[in-house]
Symmetry: C2
Subunit: 246 residues, 2 copies
Amino acid sequence: MKGRLAVVGLGPGALDQLPAAVATELAGADHLVGYRSYLDQVPAELAPGRREPYELGEERRRARRAAEAAAEGQRVALLSSGDPGIYGMAALAIEEAAGLGERGPEVAVFPGVTAATAAASLVGAPLAVDFACLSLSDLLVPWPELAARLEALCAADVALVLYNPASRARRRPWEWAVASLQRHRPQPTPVAAVRRAYRAGQSVRLADVGSMDELEVDMETVVIVGSSRTVRRGEWLVSLRDEAPP
Amino acid sequence: MKGRLAVVGLGPGALDQLPAAVATELAGADHLVGYRSYLDQVPAELAPGRREPYELGEERRRARRAAEAAAEGQRVALLSSGDPGIYGMAALAIEEAAGLGERGPEVAVFPGVTAATAAASLVGAPLAVDFACLSLSDLLVPWPELAARLEALCAADVALVLYNPASRARRRPWEWAVASLQRHRPQPTPVAAVRRAYRAGQSVRLADVGSMDELEVDMETVVIVGSSRTVRRGEWLVSLRDEAPP
């Protein structure tokens, strides 16, 4: 009997941001596989299955183990944060399941609340017109390729959501992004840095393109940069379509 | 006493895609304001408050009415589909609440599952690297501005999610998008058209950039176009970072 590999996202962190379909899948899983700190976010009473925690950086091993366990007939939940299809585990899970050929389990990807919209909701509606999401981590993507995408998106007049803006060891992509945005967008364009959205220690800082180099950012921060359609209304950022009043 | 204006999204349509926080807010609302067909998606037993349905195209009236009712002290839920910050009601709600000045109610935006990730989950993980979302509706955005954004995003090497690709009366932006993508991206680049994700009549069609002009699309379709990192694995689309196997 074939099992099933469900790839689920935990959303921004608070359990009340989980879609009911994800909660049901977690409750029914025989076996939960994920990064240790994601597993720790889910109380055992909500997900009584056996748990197999992994450390950071073992993404492919996790995906392989989850696919193998599902191929053996178990109902497996592989955990991501946010939405599992956005910088999450869904792509690796599909690759590993496909790699098992005939033995490969059924895969189901469950959508969730991604960090971009979670962060946006805390500062208003900065993504209400068109927008792009870009991860500044160059761990798995060659820097020239990342730089080309970054330059193209900074130049395009869309709101921009920067995931993983910087780590302790990696500052260059962030510095490069700030410089590119300061070249391409008017200095008063609104910017928001949202850290730990919907989790303990949540913080929101507002800035603008001209001052964004002063923001402190890390791997728990999401940075939202407005377009020519984004305005500030008190503590809110709003991107407006044409019919909105000035 | 000031009320509260909660802007909530219903997700792609199935109620089990609602985050618990949204379900709780709907259950506790005194007054629900929204497009008639969104209100019809929520059974009265889950949201017993008074309902004020609006027809399509009355977005600003809806937002104003919701802000007024909240200013009068009610707990109001203003409904969008998807995530209310993505082409939804959040921006107008903030504008209208701000327009009431001192009388303006507290506003809370609740994140939800947006159409991009709902559609992506049904075809695998096409948005697992960087991506952009663009609405092809030129109803509220001048066409030259929309065309400039479209051209910039078709040229950038990111996955692209096209919302509102075409209506019966409006085909030009879609034809223009197809032509631009066929100029900028290799013809075998994977494309998916997802219609009515997580709703009755759901359909998924796979194509590629070379054949995407044959897709039938409408206002209920979301089109996902891959980047140079997107591959097809059987019936799945996957965007791969560097460490993934070829």
